[in-house]
């Protein structure tokens, strides 16, 4: 487990403050890209009528997921403890294979890069990559 330094946490909070202003569209963009770039992820959403980027279910659910990331940013000092409820949801109800957290993380970062290229410096990138990996660990906590 690669823990977050104070510098990492500051970088994550600064970056997310910028991203949060576009949360309405950002989440849907990230989720839509994930479903398209990694078609195997569609297996979790076969109950939706439309899985294309920009569709209503994608935009609504994307916003929900990104809300979860915002919550994780607010609990950045204790991700393992702070994400227990969300972990239970993913472990027992959704039963999402944890390998998908890495996939979504990459897609989130691609969207950040397209929307905030000047802010997504290598320093911000490594801090955010570490953060999303820590979030993934927190979400996996209750799996077994």
């Amino acid at each position: 487990n690669m823990s977050l330094s104070e510098k990492d946490k500051a970088a994550v909070k600064a970056l997310w403050a910028k991203v949060s202003k576009s949360l309405d569209t950002f989440g849907g963009e990230a989720l839509g890209r994930m479903l398209l770039v990694y078609p195997q992820t569609k297996t979790y959403f076969s109950h939706w009528p439309d899985l294309t980027p920009g569709s209503n279910p994608v935009m609504v659910h994307g916003k929900l997921i990104l809300g979860g990331v915002t919550e994780a940013v607010s609990k950045i000092d204790n991700l393992r403890g702070g994400l227990l409820e969300l972990s239970e949801l993913h472990a027992f109800k959704l039963r999402v294979d944890p390998s998908n957290f890495k996939i979504l993380a990459h897609t989130i970062m691609v969207v950040i890069a397209t929307m905030f290229p000047k802010d997504f410096t290598p320093e911000a990138h490594v801090a955010f990559d570490k953060f999303l990996a820590a979030v993934a660990l927190g979400l996996s906590e209750k799996y077994r």
Binding site: R33, L36, A113, T114, P117, P122, V126, D129
Partner: protein, 147 residues
Amino acid sequence: MVKWTELERSTVNAIWEKIDIDEIGSQIWARVLIVYPWTERYFGSFGDLFTITAILKNDKVAAHGRMVLKALDKAVNNMDNMKRTYAALSRLHFQKLEVDPDSFRLLADCITITIACKLKSALSPQSQAIWQKFLSAVVDAMSSQYR
């Protein structure tokens, strides 16, 4: 062998045409070393890689990035023959350079993110899907001689 549609070929080429190897190569390589610092194990001869600032200023890092992108150009121009195009390079990375092929996946992700910074919304979801399919094929070709 990977099959490519006309749309996929033209998308990969359209993205590649927008990439200035000199500009982007160094950025990509710096990002790999900064985001995945354990990859520095292969670059003991590169001098100062101890800080982010040093990595960003390092001439050898920049030169190496340019060299790698020039090699990627070969894949863009040989999409139907990637395994054959990269057979010798793959063997080199396995037998002589002893590079963990997982590094190729890390590099592919940094390439995509650096290009995303450059192209912004022009890297549409569909373009990203096609570009990553292309990079997966490159990674497979580069891993093909690890046996």
